[in-house]
Amino acid sequence: MEKLLDVKNLSISFETKKGIAHAVRNVSFEVYEGETLGVVGESGCGKSITNLAIMGLLPENAIVKADRLNFKGTELLNLNEKSWQEIRGEKIGMIFQDPMSSLNPCYTVEYQIDEVLKIHKPELNKEQRKEKVLSLLKDVGIPAPNERLKSYPHELSGGMSQRVMIAMAIACDPKLLIADEPTTALDVTVQGQILDLLSKLQKTKAMAVIFVSHDLSVVRDITDKIQVMYAGEVIESGSTEEVINEPRHPYTKGLLDSIPNFHKKNTELYSIPGIVPDLLNRPNGCQFAKRCFNRSDDCEEALPNIEQRDNRSLRCLHPVVTEGIKE
């Protein structure tokens, strides 16, 4: 399979009044065609920022550095605004966390989906575009799409809105879809439907998907591989199965242990103690050391290197030894 996205040593920092905040440090990953990558980590760990960098949507005070930020042979670093506009929406689609406020309240569903086609498919005429909008609405499972065309966002439920967002994002058959916590704001029942829809579309359209979530249990079902981020660094990655069944980094293990177990009543819920480090004033060594149950003195001396073995990578001096915890 062909390499779609190639990110090597991506660092993103922000100039703030208090100094420079290093939000993302030396993040490297690859996404192949048709593959689903899960990006996991708690709030503020740099998941969304990384993805905004891939879309070129970071705020103006962001400083982006990378050895490579390559999408299908195009170097994205220092791309001009015009070229970005050709990539956004056509080659890379994106959906966001809160579908209700991600749709423009002043325009109809039809207008907003049609807009993407107008920008990127100028060869289509009005009727062809309308036909395409209808078939997109059908693809994302909106009942009675003809009646929904003239609906405004406030007339739609959260799940419906997210379906419309997805229709917009896949309108030009992008090679890559970035889904930034697409189910976080939705009810659990609707969440399942949206996940099913995304994995169905991913297969039929042969898209690669970057699926960002703070919830490992959501990511588990639909991704091929996972990378776990902590304080702007990738600390562990590998195939979904391996990472979930044999977590090596204490943080990954902590995340897995934090998932409440529905079947075990009356047990205390697990949580990782402490808080994420201050991005303006990072510790020298391992960023997770202060919260880690497995730390020793050498952890806080220097930042551990990323160790690559087979398809897994790990940034830890004292990994957890697991003997294949299976459910």
């Binding site: 970005w84 956004r88 966001f96 406020s101 423009n104 325009y107 405004y152 917009m168």
Partner: protein
């Protein structure tokens, strides 16, 4: 929509009764006597004074006066001016177009310059352009109309000799009042045949300074409101969605952000029409503009009760109507309340 219209019309009734009561009694509470003012305070013969008072109906109890005023008003008769002896209604409608023309020009001036200024300031936030635009608008907002009007006259009329000082049209032209709007009347085929475009240009020149004097404060309000409204909208997630679609920066601002930012701006523009009347009183006095502002001030000096009562009521109806139109526009701008 129909229900909305009917509701608004029903709300009109108590409002108008309230305003009629208010204008009727307030002016009678102000010291001063229209009959005395007409006869001159010295040497008024008590007999003539009483005769005149009863002929105007001012000797009757106040409540009786109000009752007959309302009775006549319901048939469309608002009485006659004590000073000019002409019906209040025709006096009003002879002057109203002049004020409306000036008011519309002033508000358009405010909108056409204020909205782009606000949007530019918002998109160039915290840059010198933003500081210059917002600083200027603060100065404009703080400018007293009477002073600003005089400064404009000194610069453009006295200094540069570009614009006339007073009135609506140069005296050498004779334009018949068809609609009362000079810009429209001067384009009437008869006028065009005889004088060409010259009267129209003269009308524009006469409008220029009063428009600027009256429109400066609304301009500042619109610019500041637009800036803060656009800034707020630019933070919304749907702006990021629009960018993620590959939409150009220009369209993200003008199609996605501006359309949403317009909702509070429309409300403010509606309210501005109300404040235009206050502006009209000052502006019309400075530029000798023959509108209702100047007329009302003169009537208050003369304690011309019927004119004040009728004039205030007409202005109230006008403002209510404009606000109603704004409400209707609002439902088109904001699909959530349709």
């Amino acid at each position: 929509m129909k229900r909305f219209l009917v509701e608004r019309l029903l709300q009109l009734i108590p409002t108008l009764i309230g305003i009629s009561l208010f204008s009727f009694f307030i002016i009678r509470m102000v010291p001063g006597d229209p009959v005395l003012l007409m006869l001159g305070e010295r040497g008024a013969d008590p007999k003539i004074y009483m005769e005149m008072k009863s002929s105007l109906g001012l000797d009757r109890p106040v409540f009786e006066q109000y009752y007959s005023y309302m009775e006549n008003a319901l048939t469309g008769d608002f009485g006659k001016s004590i000073v000019s002896k002409r019906p209040v209604t025709s006096e009003f409608f002879a002057r109203f177009p002049a004020t409306l023309e000036l008011g519309i020009c002033a508000v358009l001036f405010a909108i056409i310059l204020g909205i782009p200024a606000g949007v530019i300031a918002a998109t160039k936030r915290n840059t010198p352009i933003d500081y210059i635009l917002m600083g200027t608008s603060l100065v404009g907002f703080s400018m007293p109309i009477f002073w600003w009007g005089l400064i404009l006259i000194i610069i453009f009329s006295v200094g540069l000799g570009l614009t006339p000082v007073s009135g609506r049209l140069s005296v050498i032209y004779d334009v018949e009042a068809m609609t009362g709007f000079m810009l429209i009347d001067s384009l009437h085929p008869d006028v065009l045949n005889e004088e060409g475009l010259a009267p129209f240009i003269s009308a524009i020149k006469h409008l220029l300074l009063p428009t600027i004097a009256m429109g400066t404060i609304p301009l500042a309000v619109v610019a500041r409101m637009t800036r803060s409204s656009v800034l707020e909208v630019l933070r919304a997630p749907y702006i990021q969605t629009a960018k993620a679609k590959g939409q150009s920066y220009f369209k993200v601002i003008w199609v996605h952000a501006f359309r949403n930012a317009l909702i509070p701006i429309v409300t403010v523009i509606g309210l501005l029409f109300g404040s235009i009347i206050t502006g009209a009183i000052l502006t019309e006095t400075i530029f000798s503009w023959p509108g209702i502002g100047k007329w009302l001030v003169a009537s208050i000096h003369a304690r011309d009760y019927p004119v004040i009562q009728g004039g205030v009521l007409f202005i109230a109806i006008m403002i209510i109507t404009i606000n109603f139109i704004v409400d209707v526009i609002y439902t088109y701008v904001n699909p959530r309340i349709r």
